[in-house]
Symmetry: C2
Subunit: 482 residues, 2 copies
Amino acid sequence: MINKKIIIQVMGLLLLIEGFFLGVSSLVSLFYGQYDFSALITTSLICFSTGTILWFITKNANKNIGKREGYIIVSFVWIIFSLFGALPFVISGAIPSYTDAFFETMSGFTTTGASILNDIEAMPFGLLFWRSLTQWLGGMGIIVLSIAILPMFGIGGMQLFVAEVPGPTPDKLHPRIKETAKRLWGIYMLFTIIEIILLKIGGMNWFDAINHSFTTMATGGYSTKQASVAHFDSPFIDYVIIVFMFIAGTNFTLSYFALHLKFGKVFKNEEFRYYLGFVVIFTLIIATSLWFYGGFNIEKSFRDSLFQVVSIITTTGFATADYLQWMPFTIVMIFALMFFGGSAGSTGGSIKIVRITLLLKNSYQELKRIIHPNAIIPVRINGKSVPPQIISNILAFVVFYMLISIGSSVVIASLGYDIETSLGAVAATLGNIGPGIGRVGPIENYAHIPDFGKWFLSFLMLIGRLELFTVIVLFSPAFWKK
Amino acid sequence: MINKKIIIQVMGLLLLIEGFFLGVSSLVSLFYGQYDFSALITTSLICFSTGTILWFITKNANKNIGKREGYIIVSFVWIIFSLFGALPFVISGAIPSYTDAFFETMSGFTTTGASILNDIEAMPFGLLFWRSLTQWLGGMGIIVLSIAILPMFGIGGMQLFVAEVPGPTPDKLHPRIKETAKRLWGIYMLFTIIEIILLKIGGMNWFDAINHSFTTMATGGYSTKQASVAHFDSPFIDYVIIVFMFIAGTNFTLSYFALHLKFGKVFKNEEFRYYLGFVVIFTLIIATSLWFYGGFNIEKSFRDSLFQVVSIITTTGFATADYLQWMPFTIVMIFALMFFGGSAGSTGGSIKIVRITLLLKNSYQELKRIIHPNAIIPVRINGKSVPPQIISNILAFVVFYMLISIGSSVVIASLGYDIETSLGAVAATLGNIGPGIGRVGPIENYAHIPDFGKWFLSFLMLIGRLELFTVIVLFSPAFWKK
């Protein structure tokens, strides 16, 4: 029997938290004296009252949270948060359609950054703040999920990283999650604050600095400006955001080590080295092509390439240039990058560098296995050999990811979209990136997609964010048996 | 030490065989009294003399063919055959550029069917016959390779099918290859002859009937007409070719059973059932969309869909309709189909149905494994559980296939092509299909691709045809060690 009461109780608790942050957003609105205050405070009260009711009716719940309850809670958190979080947009009239508001909010909590807004700068400040906050909160959720919870579920090779979490009691769920969360959230907040200060120094006002820092650290990519980061037209701001996107795409346990000055641990980490390597290689190739054929100077070619490469590989989705105007082969490279994703244990989405790394290594080992069929040739990462079961798990994840990408592209194409747009919209939502290719590129948005498509893409954001299996397992009959 | 002499000797022997078939083609030219006779007979003599020289200088070779020699021979056969087989096109002046002629010939021997000819019907009959014959011979080569040789190499899960080959002595190389080849080539020829007769009955002349039967059974797709099979505009011919493409895409050992009236064995075979299932599902979806939105009647919608689906899934590449004019979602479906391929042990290329089947099954089992992490949940095919090592082997193959597809698309895009054309040209050559999407669709061809691109795509045809690892292993330093 699934312990339904405890699930409802946790949802109640989480609604209280959401109510609190909506309350904070309403204060921002109050500060700027805008019309969205009542929508935000109303939703805050709805969350508080619903949360309190759910909490009370399940007061006597058995506190046991098993694995199955865990799966259900994880998926439901994102859904419930988005269902309620969309309300202020609709109530205020800023986004009249609930479908649009839900899409925008799910895109926020999943740190995707795909938007349906045609005029971001017309939005009131309280709602803009809430919109950025959904990403920042989503990022916090993902850090805990990917470093503390998913490894216990054994999803897609995540158990590889369990050992690296600096938690004192690896066996007991509660203290470990708590301890891990405390440490990593501390780092997350610290980086957010530093970025805010640097962006302020770079010339942003406090409001923009806070919002962009929220969405950088979450690798979310929501901007307060229609032109995204290009709006500020400042090399300093570009470089600050590049650095923090890169940090946000790094395993937060590595940041923990770096802050404790254990840099050796960081640079010895193979995922980090591949991550750095991919960024360097892609940037150099694209920068060279922009420099030769794009008519820019060296610095601008380099900065635009680096920014876009880091933005896409970390699945942030900020833009300082419309990469769809670049040469076709760079567009293919950008599209390919959409399947890389940040590091495991970062706020980045998509397939993740460690899986790509293991894939490449395993493919190379496969060649050796063909030459020496009787030799046992393990795949090693960070000096340790990876058990075949985990390799197979990771390969299955990647195959699943590709199957979902192709199948979903057919669905989007059936709405009348061309191939590029279909592939791009799917890669950008499933990978939690935001802008894609085709008609959902960095200077366009998702407003033109029919309602069905918006719900469908929202679902892709959810399953992409939760490492596919966490959600898909709920649709499997075996999950519900006995 | 690699036994170089035996490799050279085998090449000599194979050149004698190529010389023989070039001689046959020259007779066709003689029969029609056309200008290509001298080019064909000259090349035939070049092959005979080179072959004889190679044979003589290696007379005293050690007859041991190990695994490494096997790999080298297999890759070299296709290269040498194409290098020599391209000559009559150049000597006759019918294809002035050697690059073009090599592309056309490699496309033939690999049963791809990608063409650089802008006016097929202007070609003399001897060369057209040779062009179709390259495919038919390539098909014969592939049957033996995939059923008798590759399983011994342990490439990409092919060992799964070893057990199914009705060969009497599974341990000894020579008698088994010989016996298997004899039986399966007999079936191949029988089907070719039956198809020739049926196409003649359907209204083709003997020349067209023979050529189209050659290229159907090889899943090659070279036509003697610029408009491909659409030229004949005959439902009967369409259906005949559909049936034989489908047969050519079926494991030839199953055809062997079918001809011995053991239909139970055929329909119990899971790969066959999935193959049939994919054809039915894709055809029904596409036919429905053509019927509703394409303005055709039911029969025409059904026939066009079935023809194109079977043509693409079997990697034949004949066309009776320009699928690029269909709705975008059907184009995405056709593009996805390019990665399916025929059955293992057929003449079809690409990833192959059995691998796709195992991928799907393994992904589903992965969900179960997540729910019951300690249970051993094997993947079964044909009632037998597949060892994890083979699953991992197959997953690695698919991942390799995808990595090569994406990397190669970047290369083609760097020649100035758009994303669709780049993806399409790579999928269509690596998968040995022929027509792709974008500017290499069914009514266009590969003539406009720059020379570098033609050599690059020729290489893709080769590695795709030889199950990737057979060729790539030659580039690995480990292969050449000791």
